[in-house]
């Protein structure tokens, strides 16, 4: 046992260089025993790289790591586990076709047998208030349940240091509270916790210390409970968060909706998907309708049905400006004025190896002649104008899509769709993984588009974002859509309840509620 006062973990001068970017630049970090320590930074600040260094998935170029006062070189995740360091990734390392017990077993070293592991899972789970059935195959679990399996797996290694990477992006507000209870219990038992996040309110509610990273460097170590949002923002991005001017929507509630969805039900397209049940919503010109919800509740399926990627909707269920588009394909919908910005940029919104100019051809076909031939110059010109107008940092229209940072690519894709002057713009996760500057620009553009008379539908897992830009808010849970509420009447608690399916409806049943309350 190390002498009292020895930090559990101490990093000194950690640096890591990748070919194009210096991910960590002489970063230092100190975590005491039993302390809950936040690592705050916007996307691209170097948080993930630093955690990978601690967890042994990546080797630093320079710097020293001390664990309980002893210098160590964490050579691999297995070594980290032996030392007592455990990590719960943002993107789970689970195997869908295996059971929870088998998944946990794979995360442990070989000493235990499978039945013993199943038993220990039940013990640990109940000790910390987590509900995990060891025999269920992971693909039948909701996202929140999968996270619990990950956490139990980490706990079974009796960690002295637990690292959690953005754990609440997949949880309802109520589930977040439950998680915090678990984490406080853990810390009280002596386990140190490193909590990676960019959500200021959560950090303030949970953590005693906070290290802030920006551009790979450490910009400060503070007690988050003593700081306000402005102070933390200043450390995180170098300035106060840009204020967004939110004017009242000029939408005419009596006008015919641009988009009208009625009784949209859709069976699962693949075994791991979500069934849609009787979805109904309207979007009018000049308003932004938001859809909140934890991932895995049918957003992907709804978006695919609206964009035309899934053309199976029943006739009459989706109407655009009065015409039935339920069975139309994506190109037809685009010609009718419906444009879509998908959640995945590389691979869906843009082809990674093609140039920005070529990528405009995915959704903008003005340069294609009636005979089907492409005129190269107008294509280049369009890409160049988008790059300029939306401040996309790229090597020109000929740059490959994958050479852009996440934020810049998102600006390009959003710009490409807005530039088409759509009647309806559907956007999924508009600012996920995007740096603060680009996020502000994108949100500003969406509001400007709304003011110009376009109808917008925004699906996002970031509640703060939806509160900021939406006029009305729906919640999607378990494949069902709630009625809408005006944003002025929305609170986090109410939205959280609705995320569990508990919204007022005629003949309401709460059967799905327990499952949705991840």
């Amino acid at each position: 046992m190390s002498p009292p006062g020895t930090p559990r973990l101490e990093l000194s001068g950690i640096s890591k260089q990748y070919p194009a970017v210096r991910a960590n630049d002489k970063v230092s970090l100190r975590v005491g025993p039993g302390e809950i320590h936040a690592v705050l930074g916007e996307n691209g600040a170097g948080k993930s790289t630093l955690m990978k260094v601690i967890y042994g998935a990546v080797q630093p170029d320079e710097g020293e790591i001390r664990f309980n006062g002893e210098p160590v070189r964490v050579s691999s995740p297995a070594h980290a586990r032996k030392l007592g360091i455990s990590m719960v990734y943002q993107h789970f390392s689970l195997f869908d076709t295996l059971t929870a017990a088998e998944n946990v077993w794979l995360g442990l070293d070989k000493s235990l047998k499978l039945p013993q592991v199943a038993e220990r899972i039940t013990q640990v789970a109940s000790a910390y208030g987590l509900d995990v059935d060891p025999q269920r195959p992971v693909h039948t679990l909701s996202v929140g349940e999968r996270q619990r399996v990950e956490i139990v797996r980490a706990l079974l290694t009796n960690p002295q240091l637990l690292i959690l990477d953005e754990p609440t992006s997949v949880l309802t507000p109520q589930a977040v509270d439950k998680l915090f209870v678990t984490l406080r219990k853990l810390a009280a038992g002596g386990c140190s916790i490193l909590y990676i996040s960019h959500k200021l309110d959560e950090i303030r509610a949970l953590c005693q210390q906070c290290t802030v990273l920006r551009g790979g460097k450490r910009t400060g170590v503070v007690d988050p409970r003593q700081e306000d949002n402005a102070g933390l923002s200043r450390l995180m991005i170098g300035a106060e968060p840009p204020a967004l001017v939110h004017r009242e929507s000029k939408a005419d509630p009596a006008a015919l909706p641009v988009l009208s969805v009625r009784a949209l039900s859709l069976a699962k397209a693949d075994p791991f998907g979500t069934e849609l049940k009787a979805i109904a919503l309207d979007v009018r010109a000049g308003e932004i309708v938001g859809i909140a919800g934890v991932s895995g509740n049918g957003q992907q399926e709804l978006l695919a049905a609206l964009s035309g990627e899934d053309p199976r909707a029943a006739a009459g269920s989706i109407t655009l400006l009065g015409s039935d588009i339920s069975r139309a394909n994506a190109r037809a919908r685009r010609n009718a004025g419906l444009h879509f910005v998908p959640e995945e940029r590389l691979g869906r919104g843009a082809v990674p190896t093609l140039s920005l100019a070529q990528n405009t051809l995915l959704t903008r076909t003005a340069a294609v002649s009636s005979l089907g031939f492409i005129a190269p110059k107008p294509v280049q010109a369009l890409a160049a104008s988008i790059i300029e107008r939306y401040q996309v940092k790229a090597g020109g229209p000929g740059a490959a899509a994958k050479s852009l940072s996440g934020g810049n690519l998102q600006k390009f894709i959003v710009g490409r769709e807005i530039d088409a002057k759509p009647r309806l713009l559907i956007v999924a996760q508009p600012t996920w993984g995007v740096d603060v500057g680009a996020a502000a620009l994108i949100r500003g553009e969406m509001l400007a588009l709304r003011d110009a008379g376009c109808a917008l539908l925004v699906v996002s897992e970031e509640l703060e974002e939806l509160f900021e830009i939406s006029d009305r808010l729906h919640v999607i849970a378990q494949g069902r859509l709630s009625p809408s509420m005006p944003v002025a009447e929305a609170t986090i608690e109410r939205v959280g309840e609705w995320m569990s399916g508990l919204w007022p409806q005629a003949g309401a049943t709460a059967e799905g509620a327990n499952h949705a309350a991840a």
Binding site: I14, P19, D61, N329, A330, R331, R348, L361, F373, I374
Partner: protein, 360 residues
């Protein structure tokens, strides 16, 4: 210790150099092999790579053999760029030969002598349709039943070979042919006219070049071609854009089957002028190598087609001049592809000395 480090962007220079590096390394390995077999390596390489181009006659033979390779490979390039792995071009080639040859036989047997333009168009058109038909079986099974196009197209090669055997041993056997497994010789009106007099090189070579130009237009200037390639590079992006993956599947297989069938009909109506079991020489498989060495690009395919044709003829020459088995050329072809795939790594990765890790 060497290690590979990912490049920030793929190296254009390497993309062009890689096939040349592969050819050089293969030639080196070939020289080693010749030496191991007790033959003079320099003479071996000369026979394989230079003799085939020695003189007008020899060059015409190279271009003759390159013609079907180029045509088949162009179709395969369209297919592979769409990520549809048609491995059964050999079978589609055979069915094209059967269909085109069948039309030629019918014209011959019924004494119908048409103007060359007409009879050739008929024969070649039948070839295209025959190949497309064979490939459409693959498309249907993939479209309706989700069956792997790799395995189905391959199985159909074996079936196609049996079809050819059945026809030339059975109903299409030349009654005046002394019971040899071969059909009648086609009427002269169905023969492809020669390109260069007193050689076997026929206008099919020009058709191949024309096909290369059309393929380039399709791939790089047409929206359909763009859609096909997006489907191959990023299927989710293709769905997002509204490109039909079913449409892409049928188009890719239709084009590659049709081109392979065209090549088959050209071989039947060109140098062979009849159908025999020997029409199946593995050209459809050599064409796969041509596609990769040619970087799936029409210009590269023309060059690669000539190169592989040289190697095929080199194999025949090696057999007669050096007493080495003809199969040697297959060895070199396979080797070339393997080495090319390895050297292609350099396009995306750099070779570096191991980095020292500072103890933490």
């Amino acid at each position: 210790m060497l290690r590979l480090e990912a490049r920030p962007a793929p190296s254009q220079r390497m993309a062009l150099l890689s096939p040349l590096i592969a050819i050089a390394v293969t030639a080196l390995l070939a020289a080693v092999l010749f030496a191991a077999l007790g033959k003079d390596p320099v003479r071996g390489l000369a026979v394989f790579f230079f003799e085939p181009l020695n003189g007008l006659r020899a060059t015409s033979e190279v271009l003759l053999k390159a013609t079907p390779l180029i045509v088949i490979a162009l179709g395969l390039a369209v297919c592979y760029r769409a990520n549809v792995w048609n491995i059964g071009a050999e079978g589609q080639y055979l069915l094209g030969a059967v269909a085109g040859g069948g039309m030629a036989l019918w014209l011959t047997a019924n004494g119908i002598v048409l103007p060359k333009v007409l009879s050739l168009t008929l024969v070649l058109l039948c070839g295209v349709l025959g190949g497309m038909f064979w490939a459409s079986i693959v498309a249907l099974l993939r479209d309706r039943f989700n069956a792997s196009e790799i395995l189905v197209s391959l199985m159909l090669v074996y079936v196609a070979q049996q079809v050819v055997n059945y026809l030339v041993f059975g109903p299409w056997k030349d009654p005046g042919g002394f019971n040899f497994p071969q059909t009648r010789t086609f009427d002269a009106s169905t023969w492809l006219p020669p390109l260069i007099e007193r050689t076997r090189l026929h206008i099919g070579f020009l058709l191949a070049l024309l096909a290369a130009g059309l393929t380039w237009l399709f791939m790089f200037r047409s929206y359909r071609g763009f859609a096909l390639q997006v489907g191959g590079l990023a299927p989710a992006a293709a769905r997002y854009a509204g490109f039909s993956s079913r449409g892409a599947l049928w188009l890719a297989l239709g084009v590659s089957g049709g081109m392979a069938g065209l090549a088959g009909a050209m071989e039947a109506a060109g140098p062979l002028r009849q159908l025999t079991p020997h029409i199946s020489t593995g050209l459809g498989f050599t064409a796969i190598i041509v596609v990769f060495v040619g970087r799936l690009h029409p210009l590269g395919i023309v060059a690669a087609g000539v190169l592989l044709s040289m190697m095929l003829i080199g194999g025949e020459l090696a057999q007669s001049r050096l007493g080495l088995p003809n199969a040697l050329s297959s060895v070199f072809q396979g080797l070339l592809l393997v080495v090319l795939l390895a050297s292609d790594t350099l396009i995306h990765y750099r070779v570096r000395g191991a980095r020292k890790v500072v103890a933490g």
